[in-house]
Symmetry: C2
DNA sequence: ACAATTATGGACCTACCGTTCCAGAAAGAT
DNA sequence: ATCTTTCTGGAACGGTAGGTCCATAATTGT
């Protein structure tokens, strides 16, 4: 039936993710998007509804991609190693040098909190999903349920703080040192509890 | 000499701080500012140059006010108690209920990183000043210089992460629990090193 | 009281925002 | 080949952004 769509939708969304991730919602104009995605206004509105709709889609794409990093590590490594590799991959990447865009979810929470609570909440939900993954890893690593919850909340705080520093273009060694400090604390805490439990 | 200024400059800046703090730079329009500050366009441009100039001034005001909280605590309490009270005051305030604006410095780093590097750097510098205060407190508390540096960097990461959660309207008990976890780690670490040093 | 100086209110400017709309081009179905 | 459907490019829309300008009002020094 009739003329088919000419552009690759997924590829266009990827371009949009990159732009929104880097510049945020407000500072990314429709003209910027159309230029990067390589499509006309009509095609844009036909395919995505409006700017906000595209942003929601980008948020979801980003979140899935982000969760997959941890999920894959979890399938292949011991739980604590998987957690560490998630942080090391995010904060220790040496491949592309100046990619200090932070985390699109954190950026959105901060930028949109007082502007569009729906977007803020959506980004927050995605972050909560990651925190739940943290909790699952910690449980697998032998932490008691309440200890896993406590440590997962702590690690999410660390994660969010590290992303703020990322936008300040903190050096990779400094960043990794801070992450390492935090993990040392958490692992020490879990080890102590396990030891205490063994002594009962 | 001629007609004097009619409005209270400091008071006007306070109003502007409140607006920028809540909504960020981009989402705060000149009309919003003029309305809140209660002055006309001419007076505004006469007194502050332009929107960006006012924002810089607000950033400074916010930073000074913020640093003063820690500085005052430091004058009155033991160093670790001063540090704790800084966090507890920021994240445990029960006075005004729904004031979840985060930290204007953190908000600015995130919002402006890719838009206006000057503003991002300025906010980052102010944060660094707070981190230096952390370091000084930890030094006073008996931490070795490198340990104080390490722990201060860690606490700044915690601070930034907690402010992100604040914008998500995290509950005060959850927030304080996370802060408490972090402080437990840091104090344990310093105590251990002090013990180890005593055993030499 | 008058002159000199400066703040003030508000009209005005240009640029850009996100969105809508429409005429025309392109492709599948018959 | 024709018809129908859908996509596409670009013009046009109203609204708002930050910033400028000027006539007027107000105050101090003389």
């Amino acid at each position: 039936m009739s003329r088919p769509v000419e552009f690759d939708r997924d590829q266009a969304v990827q371009k949009a993710v990159h732009l929104f991730w880097q510049r945020g919602y407000q500072a990314t104009s429709l003209a910027d998007l159309l230029d990067a995605m390589g499509l006309s206004r009509s095609s844009f509105y036909g395919a995505f509804g409006d700017k906000r709709g595209l942003f929601v889609e980008c948020l979801d794409v980003f979140a899935v991609r982000n969760q997959a990093i941890l999920q894959r590590a979890r399938d292949r490594k011991p739980p604590m190693a998987a957690l560490r590799s998630y942080f090391e991959r995010n904060f220790g990447r040496t491949s592309v040098p100046d990619l200090h865009f932070g985390c699109m979810l954190v950026n959105t929470v901060i930028e949109m909190a007082a502007i569009d609570q729906g977007l803020c909440d959506l980004a927050g939900q995605h972050l909560k999903t990651v925190q739940d993954l943290f909790e699952a890893c910690l449980g697998d690593a032998g932490a008691e349920p309440d200890e896993a919850k406590r440590a997962a909340a702590f690690l999410m705080m660390v994660n969010e703080g590290a992303w703020v520093a990322d936008r300040q273009r903190i050096s990779i060694p400094d960043q990794l040192a801070r992450i390492n400090t935090a993990f040392g604390y958490v692992e020490g805490s879990i080890a102590n509890r396990n030891t205490a439990k063994a002594q009962l």
